[in-house]
Assembly symmetry: C2
Homo-oligomer: 625 residues x 2
């Protein structure tokens, strides 16, 4: 969690249809507080001929020279737009070939100019396979696919009498979905989403939040004029602006008449709205960053990791409250002086739970004897020091061993542990606590006493692409997408995500486990439903846990404990993205499997399509005991 | 084409429900002409308990010892069947866990016994994800998934009054399709298809021909009794038997009462029917074998390849007829003695077209001067020898150069070439002939004068799996399926294939090409329709060509030239198998792309799902000029 109290900088680019003098245009835009200009690569009247001579060779010089700007200016001050008056996917062969040649020439020159910068192309329909193959491969920079939020044709059809009723209403999201599928989910291809006067349904807006939206295009025509004659956005458009910027950190492209005297007001207004609505996210810097889940049972955590977790502002207060409540329940006031409660902290780490126990003991005025069990020899050093120095007068005894093996001299009233992972049981709390619970008195208490995992299907292009790129060489020309990493599970602070349906409970564990034969393997089949066409990349996982009675911790999105920062969501990928149709049932099997030395999850989809079973025998990601 | 005039051996296995003495059972079956027996791994009354003691440890010895037979007998004489009285996919957790433990124990022991031999499991519904993960991974031998051709429940529903009307009619093909999808198209998993009294529709039978059907299960109950009291099959069942054996070389498993006195007659009858209907296929040995297309322009062919092609019994006769007809048309009888036709054989190889030309000249009594152009220095050696020795008195001149560069002393009446590949233009005949056609007289003739490619979508598990395995290590535990080879095109003699729809014409080339600017790039969008649920693995490609007037050669399945053996079909894979529903439109784009040094195809699907564009820029398989 990096310190960053300043509001983020907001970039706005000015969209121009024609430019006479490039450098002047950049300067003028800068005077109106635009950081860059978005310009056509080639003037629209500058049509070229690629087949027949002599026109073919006549137009070698089809646009301006690259020497007009420095390479730094091309990279940072200019977004190059490809022509949109050609049709690479025309049914007419000549039109198509002409379009293809035009686009090839332009994308090649655009990349020559902006290098790793931005090139923009407008999508006009879902019929874009040829366009995709011509402009969407082997990119060095970012290709912004410009798509309106609502198809104007469709919008018109709803209120114009002169437009025929049966105009095919095509959702522009499908244009984008086709385009990105055809370019094989290339990470260099992103969305420039154009806000429209009409705002689509909430669910459709949320779906865009799962896409790699890099820029928002706003036309001056959707601005209103306030009583002081300044341009402002409607409340709904303001909220949209803030939502996209807060979730995805987009930049902006403003379409306006360059003669418009209020140019500076548009860009200032956008920046003003975003600053006014800025809320600091303590997790900034972790957004959509792929992480491998910890295996604290197998690996010894390092001091950086301990430190991050100890800093959680909420978690240990909740633990302390739970221990305090449990002590009060077990020891009546009459026995305050005579009865000492035995508390075992299993997995003591660097002592935060010991601290919580001592605080709970003080607050509740109940005497405690604390056994702290820890297997990590490095944390033992810290704990020994704490006992020697800080807890000298406290009744704390350190046992340096694995909790599944230790033999304490007496039985415990309360067993306290913090072995929960983002998916509840994925750091093997069930296996650990099964071993430790034999040291609990018959009426003893485990804190936590229950954990439940949850799952829901998601569209999250960004995370999916990160996993897919784990082995892909960015320079390889042939397509080598391996499935190796698609069988793992991951942890991420997901923002660029669309939740296809609400989470459902998956597996539950109670502690202590009263079953005569303890079986921690589980299996379940969940059924979800999609309310929109979308692409499913996998499943996000969460957990909630009951610490004691009504004291709970949760990262379930509907009941997330306020301020809790210790756990990000889990993510289980599907090897291939699955195209989902509105109304589809999504059925998934999940298994938790247990063998002598490892635990693992397997998963597969049975509807709307059959997938292979992922992570069979834990081949992709075993959790070692 | 290997010499094999004998009818193939047919293996029939006897399916037994209980076996007292293994060795005796094998001997008795052998006396009735069965090559092996198919037996349950565990007696069905031998239920085991995997959870609760003391039963859990009581049944360590749950079946017979492996020492009863030699390992050779286990491998060749026994097919082990897994229990089918358990349910790994029950909604009841206890039933499911019991089923899972049973299956794990049995598959492990079965593989211990038969090693790389056969294990059989019966599918009973499409709800088989858990069964798939338990028995379908990490196999050393072949797992036969037993599936009936028609679901008995469904069949009953059509004629029994006591069965409710709304019984869900599930096509057993879907059981198999789910199972094989869940096991990730594992090549060790194959079908044991049970013939039923009812025979399904033709199209459904053809669909099974695209699946890896390894064995046919026949029950004695579907046999009829003829007037001599011998068991026989109905005409329809006979045809089915022959069809599957001829196409896939299946073996057979006979279900009968072991006390049935006619046992020997069943196995003899099956063998008799197959022998009586045996037709020798000259291509035996090439069935479903994946080959990389030749690039004769880039690589020099070797003498083995020349020899195979020269052996085609039909091709050069057709060429000879075409040349003869062309000579007759050009030279009227009055000019027989005065006029010599100039014939250029471009790409002479080891001379078969020169031979055809000389024969045509003799038969038509027209004088010819033959220029033979060849770039392969090894074939030049052969041609020089032929000219020196065999064609001494003939007017044959050898030009050792690339046909695109040679400068002949005169123009040709007839240009003869055999540059056609399985897809027509895929060995670059258009590019070659464009270069050579300038040496043709204005009214000159090219043989061939036109070629057309064709395409249709197919299900072909076997070919698909061969491509998929090109990089997969059979011993790797983690799933590494790379897409590298999925962007190539292949050639194969396809038998194990289901054609989802009829072929449609794709690209056409005419020679000589009269266009002022020659453009050999092409693109087209084809739309097919599926009449059944199935899996699409890719597209097969064919060509036909007009040699001269009505003399054509074709490998299009509807017009295949009789006896022509020189070309197998093309195959263009889809990276991921696509689940298709009955009635789905399958829309595909195909491009032929041309650059200065290579030619290549690109392809993608736009419906029912979007696929990425395959072989972009020829990254997977370029055809070098």
């Amino acid at each position: 969690m990096t310190e960053n109290s300043k509001a983020p900088t907001v970039c706005v680019s000015l969209y121009l249809d024609t430019v006479y003098e490039l450098e002047t245009a950049i300067e003028e835009a800068a005077r109106s507080n635009f950081q860059s200009i978005t310009i056509p690569m080639v003037h629209r009247r500058f049509e070229r001929e690629f087949v027949e001579e002599p026109l073919k060779t006549a137009h070698q010089c089809f646009t301006r020279s690259d020497l007009l700007l420095t390479s730094g200016q091309w990279l940072n001050r200019v977004i190059c737009r490809l022509s949109n008056n050609v049709d690479c996917d025309s049914a007419d062969g000549d039109v198509r070939k002409q379009g293809e040649a035009t686009m090839r020439q332009e994308i090649s020159y655009a990349e020559h100019l902006v290098q790793t910068g931005y090139v923009m192309v407008r999508l006009k329909s879902g019929n874009c396979a040829n366009l995709a193959r011509v402009v969407g491969h082997g990119l060095k920079g970012i290709l912004l696919a410009e798509v309106p939020m609502v198809d104007l044709k469709a919008a018109q059809a709803t209120w114009r009498a002169d437009v025929e009723e049966d105009v095919s209403v095509e959702d522009p999201w499908n244009w984008w979905n086709n385009f990105r599928s055809y370019v094989d989910h290339d990470t260099h291809v992103k969305v420039a989403l154009e806000f429209t006067a009409d705002i689509p349904k909430k669910e459709e807006i949320y779906r865009w939040l799962g896409e790699p939206v890099d820029a928002i295009v706003i036309s001056s025509s959707i601005f209103l004029t306030n009583s002081n004659n300044y341009p402002v956005l409607s409340k709904a458009h303001q909220e949209l602006l803030v939502l996209f910027h807060r979730t995805l950190g987009c930049h902006f492209i403003l379409k306006a008449n360059p003669e418009d005297k209020r140019l500076v007001h548009y860009s200032d207004y956008i920046k003003y709205i975003l600053k006014a609505n800025y809320v600091k996210d303590p997790m900034t810097g972790y957004d959509d960053l792929l992480e491998i889940p910890l295996q604290p049972l197998y690996d010894n955590l390092d001091s950086f990791t301990y430190e991050v977790f100890e800093k959680d502002p909420v978690k240990y207060i909740l633990y302390q409250n739970a221990i305090e409540q449990a002590l009060r329940d077990r020891v009546p006031t009459a026995e305050l002086d005579t009865r000492t409660s035995i508390i075992m902290v299993v997995g003591g780490g660097r002592g935060p739970l010991v601290r919580a126990t001592i605080n709970a003991s003080i607050k509740s005025k109940r005497k405690v004897k604390v056994y702290v069990i820890e297997k990590n020899p490095n944390a033992i050093v810290t704990l020994s020091a704490l006992i020697r120095e800080l807890w000298r007068d406290r009744n704390v005894e350190l046992i340096s061993t694995d909790m599944r093996e230790f033999e304490p001299p007496e039985k415990a009233d309360i067993l306290v542990s913090e072995l929960l992972g983002s998916f509840g049981d994925n750091e093997l709390s069930p296996e650990c606590l099964d071993g430790a619970q034999k040291h609990l008195k018959p009426d003893g208490i485990s804190i936590p006493c229950k954990s439940t995992s949850y799952l829901n299907p998601v569209m999250t292009t960004k995370i999916y692409n990160q996993i897919r790129s784990l082995e892909k060489s960015p320079h390889a020309k042939d397509r080598i997408v391996t499935s190796r990493y698609m069988e793992g599970s991951y942890v991420a602070y997901l923002k660029n995500v669309y939740h296809i349906d609400a989470p459902q409970p998956l597996f539950e564990f109670v502690h202590p486990n009263p079953a005569p034969i303890i079986d921690n393997s589980r299996s379940a089949c969940l059924t979800f439903k999609a309310s929109l066409d979308c692409v499913m990349h996998g499943f996000t996982g969460y957990f909630d846990a009951v610490l004691y009675k009504d004291i709970t911790i949760s990262i379930h999105p509907y009941s997330h404990t306020r301020g809790l920062g210790s756990w990000f969501s889990m993510f289980f990928p599907m090897t291939e993205p699955v195209q989902i149709r509105r109304g589809d049932e999504i059925r998934v099997n999940f298994w938790r499997c247990v063998a002598s030395h490892k635990v693992w999850y397997e998963w597969n989809m049975t509807a709307p399509r059959q997938s292979h079973i992922h992570n069979v025998q834990g081949r992709g990601m075993p959790i070692w005991k």
